[in-house]
């Protein structure tokens, strides 16, 4: 059960090898989290993640298979994840997703469709499968990892941005639908974070490391905010940027 500070005792991670999710879990396990279920594809990396979390204080770490490129399997992953957690779960972290090279996929129908399946269709199906379970357990929390990339369309990542924009939209409405049911849903919008996902890319302004990002997410989890920018100052930056005329924004974005 979550306590007065919102600290969870059990956590299900969808995208269980995500650098950001694992850094968040390190901190949650140092507090009250003892049961963790990691859903992911790469068994070896899942096993390594499980060891890391046991060292961080978890007593029960289970892994369940997840294939985000097949949205029809989302319900089974949710079912397996919840049952591995003991039937109910205090916190679900939705951290599944890939980052694509815009120029490499924008003329490729198959690759574009796959990006949308992994980043948007699978998560949407998973959230739908999760919803009645959250209603039945009468408490819980969902953290959806969106991105600032979904706030404003940019030449160099508009497809990825579109998947995150869809997820962000879904997450906010999903949260409203569970508001009176004792379930807290939060959408996190990280900026550029140094992770394995962004290795090799040119860093954007206000880039932060995984640890700083995890600290901000953990603090956000115990707040009542529905949308949390990481780092927090991005809220202000985007508050200004979204009012720029498109030609000016294009110029700023291209200059980074």
């Amino acid at each position: 059960m979550r306590n007065a500070f919102g600290q969870p005792q059990s956590v299900l991670v969808l995208g269980g090898t995500s650098d950001i999710a694992l850094a968040v879990l390190d901190r949650l396990c140092a507090a009250r989290t003892r049961t963790v279920v990691l859903a992911g594809r790469d068994e070896q990396r899942l096993a390594a993640a499980a060891d890391r979390l046991r060292a961080a204080g978890a007593t029960t770490v289970e892994t369940v298979p997840m294939e985000a490129s097949q949205p029809s399997s989302a319900a089974a992953t949710i079912e397996a994840g919840l049952s591995a957690a003991g039937g109910r779960v205090d916190l679900v972290i939705l951290a599944a997703g890939i980052l694509s090279d815009q120029e490499a996929i924008e003329d490729d129908a198959t690759a574009t469709a796959q990006l949308f399946e992994i980043n948007l269709t699978w998560p949407a199906a998973a959230l739908a499968a999760l919803r009645p379970r959250l209603l039945a357990q009468g408490s819980g929390q969902v953290a959806i990892i969106s991105s600032v990339g979904g706030v404003l369309a940019r030449r160099d990542n508009y497809s990825y941005g579109a998947t995150k924009a869809g997820l962000d939209f879904l997450g906010i409405g999903y949260g409203d639908s569970l508001r009176d049911a004792g379930v807290k849903v939060q959408v996190f919008r990280p900026g550029f974070i140094r992770t394995k996902m962004t290795t090799g890319l040119e860093e954007a302004p206000m880039t932060i490391g995984v640890d700083e990002c995890a600290e901000a997410i953990v603090a956000g989890l115990s707040s009542s905010a529905q949308v949390i920018w990481v780092p927090a100052k991005l809220r202000l930056v985007f508050g200004v940027m979204r009012h720029l005329p498109r030609p000016v924004f294009r110029f700023v974005a291209s200059r980074r």
Partner: protein
């Protein structure tokens, strides 16, 4: 019986959860609610944390179990439904010349809740806790209804005492009352410039008073750290009254005249505003006053004067950290206050009391020595870690936290503080073999699934 889904939280307004709330009016209706779990009873929701909520399950309000028998003057006992509040008992008992043997800082608790938490008051050092004054009670369990007395089934009697509802739903209870001559309390007040002073006075002098409580300022540091106002007293005899009071010596308690109309944003109560409040409150108290007459409400239930005062702490809610340590570890009181103040955690006046020995209950909270209760608003990011460290200090001293106040203890720390919790669960399995009785608190502490 009415059923509806409701989002419930405790008095601290933290960690709400959704449950089907049902309000049975007869014992048969209570039995029906225990047909499947998880299920837990709830009274007036004065537990600070998650003791009377059951996410995804059923919460049985005991407020439909409302009946009062006439007081038996010969034995000084009264039999009441479990949903009757201490306030409602006092309204009939005080005019008849009786008082409840144990009352906490609020009258707004039900008899069922008082048994489940085995509540204590300002007289614990002499009179023990609520269950020490319960003649018998009737209990609905998943395996049937039982009349429980200490002599007849000591295991079930004491497991239910402070058992946080995990042995069943209390239906009614017969309570031993205290005869009083007046509804006034003769109070001695003394102000102390620091913690050592007040603790020395309490250790040496409390046994001369039936009631004793000290309000400690947790925001002052240095030589005036822990300055306090100590109030001690007993029910005033008829001979002590004069004038108007003497003509009407037994006045029932008054209803609240004020209410907090809405919940302000968290942060309104901060270090600045709380310091200012504490300062004003300390200055208001007389340096020393003897045998002043206070009304029952003013002495026992000062916060009941403002309805819904818990809202003051803001939308994020608050918690109360209450621990007990034995006489050999009185220094933990100082450590706790210093830890909060050095970590810049704002805390309202803390309540310091003396405890007598605990009772046979496996989850009995009191230990002969000290108990300190601190109100802290949720918000400061360092608070969870600071309280976890305090848990370790309390546990190392052989102390424990009060479950009726708890909203954040870990299962590991609970097991250390309450090594006999297995005895409670063994008795619970006798009357509830399928483990239907369960609350958010019992799940959080690892007592149930």
């Amino acid at each position: 019986m009415t059923d509806h889904l409701e989002l419930l939280s405790g008095w601290g307004n933290t960690a709400p959860s959704l449950a089907e709330v049902t309000r049975p009016r007869t014992e048969a209706e209570v039995d029906a609610t225990l047909g499947h779990g998880p299920v837990i009873a709830r009274g007036l929701g004065r537990s600070y944390g998650d003791a009377a909520q059951c996410a995804g399950g059923t919460v049985v309000s005991n407020r439909g179990l409302w009946h009062l028998s006439p007081i038996d003057p010969a034995s000084a006992t009264i039999t009441v439904g479990a949903g009757v509040s201490l306030d409602e008992i006092l309204r009939v008992a005080v005019p008849a010349g009786f008082f409840v043997a144990v009352t906490p800082g609020t009258r707004q608790v039900t008899v069922g809740g008082a048994i489940a938490a085995d509540i204590h008051g300002k007289n614990h050092h002499l009179d023990g806790s609520f269950m020490n004054h319960v003649e018998s009670f009737r209990l609905a369990t998943p395996t049937g209804e039982l009349t429980v007395t200490e002599a007849g089934d000591p295991d079930l009697f004491w497991a239910t005492a402070g058992g946080m509802g995990l042995t069943g739903v209390v239906l009614e209870a017969t309570l031993r009352l205290l005869p009083i001559e007046t509804s006034w309390v003769s109070v001695d007040t003394e102000r102390f410039e620091n913690l050592d002073g007040v603790m020395a006075a309490m250790a040496s002098g409390d046994d001369d008073y039936r009631y004793s409580v000290a309000w400690v300022d947790c925001m002052t540091q240095g030589p005036r750290m822990g300055r306090a106002v100590l109030t001690r007293g007993d029910h005033a005899p008829a001979a002590a009254l004069s004038g108007k009071a003497a003509r009407r010596p037994l006045e029932p308690p008054t209803a609240p005249r004020l209410a907090v109309p809405l919940t302000p944003p968290s942060g309104l109560l901060n270090r600045l505003s709380i310091s200012a409040f504490n300062e004003a409150w300390f200055r208001k108290a007389p340096k020393k006053a003897d045998a002043e007459l206070h009304s029952l409400s003013a002495f026992f239930h000062p916060l009941d004067g403002v309805d819904l005062w818990n809202r003051m702490h803001g939308t994020r809610g608050f918690l109360q950290y209450q621990f007990a340590v034995d006489d050999a570890h009185g220094e933990v009181v100082r450590t706790a206050i210093e830890t909060l103040s050095s970590n810049k955690v704002p805390s309202f006046l803390a309540v310091l009391k003396r405890f007598g020995p605990g009772n046979p209950g496996p989850l009995s909270f009191p230990v002969q020595g000290w108990t300190l209760a601190l109100d802290v608003p949720v918000g400061p990011s360092q608070l969870p870690g600071v309280l976890d460290r305090l848990d370790e200090i309390v546990a190392e001293a052989g102390g424990r936290l009060y479950l009726a106040k708890d909203s954040r203890l870990s299962p590991e720390m609970f097991a250390t503080m309450y090594p006999r919790s297995g005895e409670l669960m063994a008795v619970a399995r006798r009357v509830d073999p399928d483990g239907r009785l369960s609350s958010d608190l019992s799940r959080r502490l690892g007592l149930t699934h």
